[in-house]
């Protein structure tokens, strides 16, 4: 599990974004849900961007770097595109909780 240096809330959101993008790509494999998958991912990216804009400069709390690393590793372990769709919703909720936000 790779732990990236995370100093701020914005760092945490940025560090998690690559794993979220990979999750969305996996979810897109369910062709019937392609539009829903992209709308869902976009909706959560907007929410995360709003948090980064509002609180990005705040220091990340103790344990956030490890939480982001664990969350990203968990998302990358998902090989079933149907589970990936479900995790497109779960992932940002876990991330937001980690940085002290309600989803």
């Amino acid at each position: 599990m790779e732990i990236q240096p995370i100093v701020s809330v914005a760092d945490a959101i940025t560090a998690a974004s690559a794993a979220y993008d990979e999750l969305a790509a996996r979810a897109e494999e369910v062709e019937d849900e392609w539009s829903f998958v992209n709308d869902l991912a976009d909706a959560w990216r907007i929410r995360l961007a709003d948090v980064a804009d509002a609180r990005g400069d705040e220091p990340a709390a103790i344990g956030v770097a490890e939480a982001v690393a664990a969350l990203s590793a968990e998302a990358r372990a998902i090989d079933d595109p149907h589970r990936a769709i479900d995790w497109l919703s779960t992932f940002p909720q876990v991330l937001l909780i980690a940085v002290g936000e309600w989803p």
Binding site: E33, S35, F36, D39, L40, A43, W44, R47, A61, I62, G63, V64, E66, A67, A69, A70, L71, A73, E74, A77, I78, R83, I85, D86, W87, L88, S89, T90, Q93, V94, I97, A98, G100, W102, P103
Partner: protein, 227 residues
């Protein structure tokens, strides 16, 4: 309008066994009294890949970090984690069924808080019931939870995630409500989704089936079921 037990077909018999699993009651009892972050923990674990509790504790520093002292709240988080891992350790098909049964059981527990939990109020809350209307063909699928109080009846369907919101589900709920109105009866239609409101809204935006009069209860508002 009248309520009726669902026919005990093969699916119902198998699912009744899932619903009776002690793990379902244990998880539902914990989640009925949980906070949002604890419910999100359960959601993540029950559909996660790893079943290593250490990984999940790392992922939720607000619940298990050094700032969270030992005590009842920490104990509840640990108990929820333990139950959710037990669900995740089931085979994929069984875990899906168990998750669904847990959402239904949580819904029932919270709905039972209405009316102060009196015997009369409790008797009005039922599971796996059909709703019949004069001259209307009965729906195949029973409602997960019903409140069968004259003048304040309610049909409740439960879903694990936003993706479970479909045209069929929305039509069945809205049809029941409108058929009841045709008989000058009140029937509230409620859809409980164990997922974030934001995700539900994205799903609903894609639906043309009628849902304006259906109450949506998402993960953030589960406790509203008590009202």
């Amino acid at each position: 309008m009248r309520f009726q037990d669902a026919a005990p077909d093969a699916r119902a018999v198998v699912y009744a066994g899932i619903q009776a699993d002690p793990l379902v009651a244990r998880a539902a009892g914990l989640l009925a009294d949980a906070r949002l972050d604890q419910r999100i923990l359960a959601r993540a674990v029950m559909n996660g890949m790893t079943t290593d509790p250490v990984v999940w504790r790392t992922m939720f520093p607000g619940l298990f970090g050094p700032d969270r002292p030992a005590g009842p709240d920490r104990e509840r988080s640990e108990a929820i984690l333990d139950a959710a891992v037990a669900v995740a350790e089931r085979g994929e098909l069984v875990r899906q069924q168990v998750r669904g049964a847990i959402v239904e059981a949580v819904t029932e527990l919270i709905v039972r808080r209405r009316g102060g939990g009196t015997a009369a109020a409790n008797q009005a809350i039922r599971r796996e019931r059909r709703i019949l209307f004069d001259g209307v063909r009965a729906e195949i699928h029973p409602y997960d939870v019903t409140v069968e109080t004259p003048g304040a009846s309610e049909a409740i369907d439960c879903k694990w995630g936003a993706r479970g919101i479909s045209a069929d589900v929305l039509h069945q709920l809205d049809d029941a409500r409108t058929h009841a109105a045709d008989e000058e009866e009140h029937l509230a239609a409620t859809l409980v989704v164990f997922d974030a409101r934001r995700s539900c809204d994205v799903r609903l935006e894609r639906q043309t089936a009628p849902h304006e009069a259906t109450r949506l209860i998402a993960l953030e508002t589960l406790d509203d079921l008590a009202r």
